[in-house]
C-alpha cells in the first residue's frame, strides 16, 4: 500500500498532464481554436492598462496572453494541462504544509478535475483556473514566511491585492492561508490579518460600484464568457476546494496509506466517470466545421462530412456552403443527408456566426459586416475577437471603407498571430486596384448588390433572388439559391432559374430537371443534346422501384438515397 501510495503520488501528476494535454490539444483542438478566435491579445500598453485596471484584471490579462497560444492547439493543450497540474500541485503542497503529511493527498486533484469539467463548456474561460492556480501558490508563499509579523502583513496586503488582481478565486487563498495557519503556527496576527482582509473586502464591496454587480464582485466578470453565468458554479467549486483542504487537516491523524489509496481510486473513478460525459463531441465537431469554413478550407469541410454526417444545423450550413464554394453543389448536394432548407440558413436571432460566413462568401458584404459586428459585441463580452475583427477589416476593405479597415488592421498589427495577415492586407489596400484583382476580395467586391433592398434573414431565398437578379454572374449566390429551391422542393422556381451550360447539368440539377420535365410531360427527345438521357431513364427506374417498395424509405434509401427524387419523396421538414 505504501508503495502504491508513493508511486501514485509521483506518477499521477504526469498522468494528469499527459491526459489533459491529449484531451485539450487533440480531442478538443477545435474548441481551442474556436476559443482563441473569439479573443484577441494586444501587445499594447493601453490594452494592458485597460485589462489589468478591472477587478480581476491581472488574471484576465495573463490568461488572455496564454490563450493566444491556443492558435497552436498542441501548445494550447499543453498550457491548459500545465495550469491543471499547477493547481493540483499547489493543492498538494497546501495539504502537505497544513498536515505535515500526505494525508488524503488525492483530494488535491478535486479542483483540477472540477475545472477540467468546466472547461469542456467553451463558455467557461480559463481565467478562473489561472486565478485558482495563483491563489494556492500565493498561499503557499505566505506559509513559507517564518516571521509572524511579516506573514501577517503579507496576508493583509497580499490577499487584498490578490482579490483585486484575480477576482473572487482569491477566497481559495484565504481559506488555504487560514487553514495552514490554524493547523500549524496558529499566530493570532496572521489570523487577525485574514479577518481584516475580509472586512476590507466588505468595505470595498460596499463603497465601490463593483458591488452593484454580484458577478463582477465574485468573478471579476471574466471567468465566464457571458454576464448571465450562475455564480453558484464558482461557489461550489471553491467550496469543494475548501473541503479538499480542510478534510485532510481534520482527518490527518486517522489517515493510513490504504485510505489514501481508496481516496485515489475514488478520485480517479470520479474523473473517469465524469469527464467523458462532459466531452461535447457535437460541439467539437461544429467548431471544426466553423474553423475550417472560416478559413475557406472547403474541401476539408466536405471530406469531414463524407466521413461523418454533420450532426448539427450549423455544421450542415458549413457543408452546403462548402459545396457551393467549390462548385459541387449541383452535383453532390444530395450525397449528404439533407433535411430541408434549414440546412442552408438560420434567422438573425438564431445565429450570427455561421450565417455570417454564408453572407460573406455569397457577396452580402454589408450584411456579413453587420453579423460580424453584432457577434463581436455580443459573443465576446468586453473584448474584441480575431474572428470578427479580421472579418470587419475585410468587409470594410471590400466596400471601400479603407480608413475603417485600416483602424482594425492597425489594431491587429499589435497581435502575435494576426500581425502578418494585417500587414498583408494593409499593403493590399495601398493599391485599391490590387483589391479588384484579388482572387477572393476582388470577386466579392464585384458580387455585392448594386441597389439597396431590405434584408430579411427569414426570407434569405428572396434575398438571393434579388442578388442573382442584380448580379447574374454571382455564381455562388446562384448555386445557393438553386440549393434553396431544391431543398424547398420548389422545382418550378428551380426550372425557371435553371441555366443549362454547354457541358450539361450536374447530377442533382439534372435529376430535378428530369422530374420537372416528367411532371410537365416534356418528351426528353425534344430536349437539347447536352441533357443526359440516362438521367431520364434512371428516373423511370426510380419510379418503378418506388412503386415496388410500397413507399418504404429504408428500401429506397439503399439505391436511391443520394438522389433528389428520394429527397422529394421521403424527407420532411
Amino acid at each position: 500500500m505504501k508503495q502504491i501510495d508513493k508511486y501514485a503520488r509521483l506518477a499521477l501528476p504526469v498522468l494528469l498532464a499527459v491526459a489533459a494535454w491529449l484531451f485539450f490539444g487533440v480531442l478538443y483542438r477545435w474548441h481551442l481554436l474556436y476559443f482563441e478566435g473569439n479573443q484577441l491579445f494586444f501587445w499594447t500598453a493601453d490594452y494592458a492598462r485597460e485589462t489589468i485596471g478591472r477587478l480581476g484584471g491581472l488574471g484576465e490579462y495573463v490568461t488572455r496572453f496564454l490563450v493566444q497560444f491556443y492558435h497552436l492547439p498542441l501548445l494550447g493543450g499543453a498550457i491548459v494541462a500545465l495550469m491543471l497540474v499547477a493547481l493540483q500541485q499547489g493543492m498538494q503542497r497546501v495539504i502537505q504544509r497544513a498536515t505535515s503529511s500526505n494525508a488524503l493527498w488525492p483530494l488535491s486533484y478535486v479542483p483540477s478535475i472540477y475545472y477540467w469539467v468546466l472547461l469542456c463548456d467553451e463558455d467557461f474561460t480559463p481565467v478562473g483556473l489561472l486565478a485558482m492556480v495563483m491563489a494556492v501558490w500565493v498561499a503557499i508563499g505566505f506559509a513559507r514566511i517564518n516571521n509572524g509579523w511579516l506573514r501577517s502583513v503579507a496576508t493583509l496586503v497580499g490577499l487584498l491585492a490578490l482579490w483585486l488582481a484575480i477576482g473572487g478565486a482569491a477566497v481559495v487563498a484565504l481559506v488555504a492561508v487560514v487553514a495552514i495557519e490554524l493547523a500549524t503556527k496558529r499566530d493570532w496576527r496572521v489570523l487577525a490579518s485574514a479577518a481584516i482582509t475580509i472586512a476590507s473586502v466588505a468595505v470595498i464591496w460596499h463603497i465601490h460600484p463593483w458591488h452593484l454587480s454580484n458577478l463582477l464582485m465574485v468573478t471579476g466578470g471574466t471567468y465566464f464568457r457571458h454576464l448571465d453565468v450562475a455564480v453558484d458554479v464558482f461557489y461550489k467549486l471553491w467550496a469543494a476546494t475548501a473541503v479538499a483542504i480542510i478534510v485532510p487537516i481534520v482527518a490527518a491523524r486517522f489517515v493510513r496509506e490504504w485510505i489514501n489509496v481508496v481516496a485515489l481510486v475514488a478520485v480517479i473513478g470520479a474523473a473517469v466517470a465524469t469527464l467523458p460525459k462532459h466531452y461535447d463531441a457535437n460541439s467539437e465537431d461544429t467548431m471544426a466545421y466553423y474553423c475550417l469554413t472560416r478559413n475557406g478550407r472547403w474541401n476539408e469541410v466536405i471530406e469531414r462530412a463524407r466521413k461523418h454526417d454533420p450532426q448539427t444545423r450549423p455544421a450542415m450550413i458549413c457543408l452546403n456552403l462548402s459545396l457551393v464554394m467549390t462548385g459541387q453543389s449541383g452535383e453532390r448536394l444530395f450525397d449528404f443527408p439533407q433535411y430541408g432548407p434549414a440546412g442552408l440558413f438560420m434567422t438573425y436571432d438564431e445565429d450570427l456566426i455561421f450565417c455570417g460566413e454564408v453572407l460573406f462568401n455569397l457577396g452580402f458584404v454589408n450584411e456579413a459586416q453587420r453579423y460580424a459586428y453584432e457577434m463581436m459585441v455580443t459573443y465576446s463580452y468586453l473584448q474584441r475577437s480575431a474572428f470578427t475583427m479580421t472579418r470587419l477589416a475585410e468587409t470594410n476593405m471590400i466596400a471601400g471603407r479603407y480608413e475603417v479597415a485600416r483602424k482594425y488592421l492597425n489594431a491587429l498589427k499589435n497581435t502575435l498571430f494576426y500581425r502578418s495577415w494585417a500587414e498583408n492586407l494593409l499593403e493590399l489596400m495601398d493599391t485599391p486596384e490590387a483589391i479588384d484583382e484579388h482572387r477572393m476580395y476582388g470577386k466579392l467586391r464585384r458580387n455585392q448588390p448594386v441597389h439597396n433592398f431590405p434584408f430579411f434573414s427569414a426570407k434569405f431565398d428572396k434575398m438571393l433572388e434579388e442578388m442573382v437578379d442584380q448580379r447574374p454572374n454571382n455564381r455562388e449566390a446562384y448555386e445557393y439559391l438553386m440549393a434553396f429551391y431544391l431543398l424547398y422542393k420548389n422545382v418550378d422556381a428551380f426550372a425557371e432559374r435553371l441555366i443549362i451550360p454547354a457541358k450539361g447539368l450536374p447530377r442533382a440539377y439534372e435529376e430535378a430537371f428530369a422530374m420537372v420535365c416528367r411532371i410537365n410531360r416534356v418528351n426528353p427527345a425534344t430536349l437539347p443534346a447536352n441533357i443526359n438521357r440516362a438521367t431520364f431513364e434512371r428516373l423511370e427506374r426510380y419510379i418503378r422501384a418506388y412503386d415496388m417498395s410500397g413507399n418504404n424509405p429504408e428500401v429506397m434509401n439503399k439505391d436511391w438515397g443520394r438522389s433528389y427524387w428520394f429527397y422529394t419523396n421521403f424527407i420532411r421538414f
Partner: protein, 476 residues
C-alpha cells in the same frame, strides 16, 4: 590623462547625440490631432499631440510671445499642465514649432499658430461611449470629461446594470445638477437628477404608448420636452451605405418636473405629421422641433424633415395653436435643432433625407441666424464625412459636435469657437493625454457630447438605488 580621456569620451558621446542631419520643412508637422490654426479656450487642458510618422524623438517649442516652453518626447509630446496654464494665462496666440527626428534626420517643420480665446469654456463634456453598432451592444457607458484636466470620469457603465442601454443624457442649460438620461432594458426608465434628488420615471403611459426619447430641457429647468418615437432600423446592402434608423410615427410631449405630469398636445401629436427632436429657445417661449410628412416615410429616401416652431408658455405649460415652418430644408432633411443660449442662432444637422444623420456621409451642420433669418452651411466645421449631433456651451461661444471625419465610422467630438460675428473657428478634437494611442485604439464612438458646467454629483450607487423603484407618470 584620465581627465583628457573623459573629455574626449564626452565629446564623442555629444557628437553622437547630435549627429542627426538637420533639415527644415515648409510643411506643417505630421501631428495628431491637427492643432494648426485652431482656437482654444484659455482654460483648456494641455494640447498634447503625437506624430503620425515613425519617430525617435519629437521636440516642440510653444511660445506665447513672451514666454515659451520646450517639451520633448519619443513619439509625441506631453505638456506639463502647470507650465501650460502659465503659458495660456497671458496668451492671445501660441506659436508651436515641432521638430521630429527619424532615421537620424532631424526635421524642423513650419511653425503653426493656435489662437487663445479669452472666452472660457465650461467645466467639461458629458457623452456616451458606445460601439457604433447595429442592434446589439456590449459595454457602454456615460462619462464626463474635465476639459481643464484631460480627465474622464465614469458616470455609469452598463456592466453594473445587467447590460442595460443608457442614452440621451441631457442637462438644463449645461447644469449638472438638473440632468436626465434614459436606462433601457430590464428595470429601465428615465433617471431624473434634480438638485440632489433622484427618481426613475416610467415615461411609457397609456396615452403615449412608448417611452420618451429625445429630450430638451427648458432653460429655466422646469420642463423637459421629449419626442416619443416608434423607431425602426433598416440595413443597406450596397457598399456606400450601412444602415438607417427611421420612425414609424413620432410626437412631441412635455414633462413638467414640478407636477410630475407628462403633457400631450394635439398640435404636436398630429397624425398627419411626424414631430421629433424638440428644442427650447433661449427665452423658453418657443419650442423648435422637426416635422415630416408620414406619407413620404413609406419610401425612406424621400423623408424630409423641416424645422418648425410653436409658442410655449412656461407659466402654464401650454403650447400655441399655430405651427410655423422656420425652414423647410430646401429639399433636404433638417435634424437636431439646437438653439444657442444667447438667443441668436439655431444650429441644425442637414442631410439628404431621413431622421438619423449619423449614418449619412453627407450630413453637415448649418446655422440659422434668428435675427436676420440668414442660414448657411458651416463650412468652417463641416468635412467630407458625417457631422451630426451638436450642442452649445453655457455662454454660446463654444460648440461641440460629432464628426466621423477621421475614419468614417467612429464618431469623435470636435470643439469650435464662435465669435461676435457668428464666425466659427477651425475645430479641434477633444484633447487627450495620449491622443494617438487613445483615439486610434478606441473602437467606440462618442455619442451626444453635451457641455456641463461642473462635475456631475451622481454616483453609480445613486443611479442603481433610483433604479429600484420606477415612478409611473400620468399623461395629461
Amino acid at each position: 590623462m584620465r581627465k583628457s580621456f573623459i573629455i574626449i569620451a564626452l565629446t564623442v558621446a555629444l557628437a553622437a547625440c547630435t549627429s542627426a542631419d538637420k533639415r527644415t520643412s515648409d510643411q506643417l508637422p505630421p501631428i495628431f490631432p491637427d492643432y494648426a490654426g485652431v482656437t482654444v479656450p484659455v482654460n483648456i487642458a494641455p494640447l498634447n499631440f503625437d506624430v503620425t510618422e515613425p519617430a525617435q524623438r519629437v521636440e516642440a517649442t510653444i511660445s506665447n510671445g513672451s514666454e515659451q516652453i520646450e517639451v520633448k518626447g519619443r513619439s509625441g509630446v506631453s505638456i506639463l499642465p502647470r507650465k501650460w496654464r502659465a503659458l495660456l494665462a497671458e496668451a492671445e496666440k501660441l506659436t508651436v514649432t515641432v521638430a521630429v527626428t527619424a532615421d537620424k534626420v532631424r526635421t524642423e517643420y513650419a511653425p503653426f499658430e493656435i489662437e487663445v480665446s479669452r472666452d472660457s469654456i465650461d467645466y467639461g463634456l458629458c457623452y456616451r461611449r458606445v460601439d457604433p453598432g447595429y442592434e446589439y451592444y456590449a459595454r457602454m457607458g456615460l462619462y464626463y470629461y474635465d476639459l481643464g484636466e484631460n480627465e474622464e470620469h465614469i458616470l455609469i457603465e452598463n456592466t453594473l446594470m445587467g447590460s442595460s442601454c443608457v442614452n440621451c443624457h441631457s442637462f438644463a442649460k449645461t447644469n449638472p445638477s438638473r440632468m436626465m438620461f434614459h436606462i433601457r432594458g430590464k428595470n429601465g426608465g428615465t433617471l431624473l437628477h434634480l438638485d440632489g434628488e433622484n427618481a426613475l420615471l416610467n415615461t411609457k403611459t397609456e396615452a403615449t404608448k412608448v417611452s420618451c426619447v429625445y429630450p430638451s430641457w427648458h432653460p429655466d429647468g422646469r420642463y423637459i420636452a421629449y419626442s416619443i418615437n416608434d423607431i425602426k432600423q433598416t440595413f443597406h446592402n450596397v457598399p456606400s451605405q450601412i444602415l438607417d434608423v427611421y420612425d414609424h410615427w413620432s410626437d412631441v410631449v412635455i414633462y413638467d418636473t414640478e407636477t410630475g405630469e407628462l403633457n400631450t398636445y394635439p398640435i404636436l401629436s398630429d397624425t398627419t405629421r411626424f414631430e421629433t427632436f424638440p428644442s427650447f429657445s433661449a427665452d423658453g417661449r418657443t419650442l423648435y422641433f422637426c416635422s415630416a410628412d408620414p406619407k413620404a416615410a413609406e419610401i425612406l429616401p424621400e423623408v424630409r424633415y423641416e424645422l418648425c416652431s410653436v409658442e410655449f408658455d412656461p407659466a402654464t405649460g401650454e403650447v400655441g395653436d399655430q405651427i410655423t415652418t422656420v425652414w423647410d430644408g430646401d429639399g433636404a432633411s433638417l435634424l437636431f435643432p439646437r438653439a444657442s443660449y444667447d438667443g441668436r442662432y439655431v444650429m441644425v444637422t442637414r442631410s439628404a433625407y431621413g431622421t438619423f444623420p449619423i449614418w449619412h456621409k453627407d450630413a453637415d451642420l448649418w446655422l440659422i441666424d434668428l435675427r436676420t433669418g440668414e442660414r448657411r452651411a458651416l463650412d468652417e466645421l463641416n468635412s467630407d464625412n458625417t457631422e451630426s449631433y451638436h450642442s452649445w456651451n453655457s455662454t454660446s461661444r463654444w460648440v461641440v459636435f460629432s464628426s466621423r471625419r477621421i475614419d468614417g465610422l467612429h464618431t469623435r467630438p470636435y470643439i469650435a469657437h464662435v465669435d461676435d460675428e457668428g464666425r466659427f473657428s477651425k475645430p479641434f478634437l477633444l484633447p487627450h493625454d495620449r491622443p494617438l494611442e487613445w483615439y486610434d485604439g478606441l473602437m467606440q464612438s462618442y455619442n451626444i457630447p453635451e457641455f456641463i458646467s461642473g462635475p456631475i454629483e451622481l454616483s453609480p450607487s445613486d443611479i442603481l438605488q433610483a433604479e429600484a423603484g420606477a415612478v409611473e407618470l400620468n399623461a395629461r
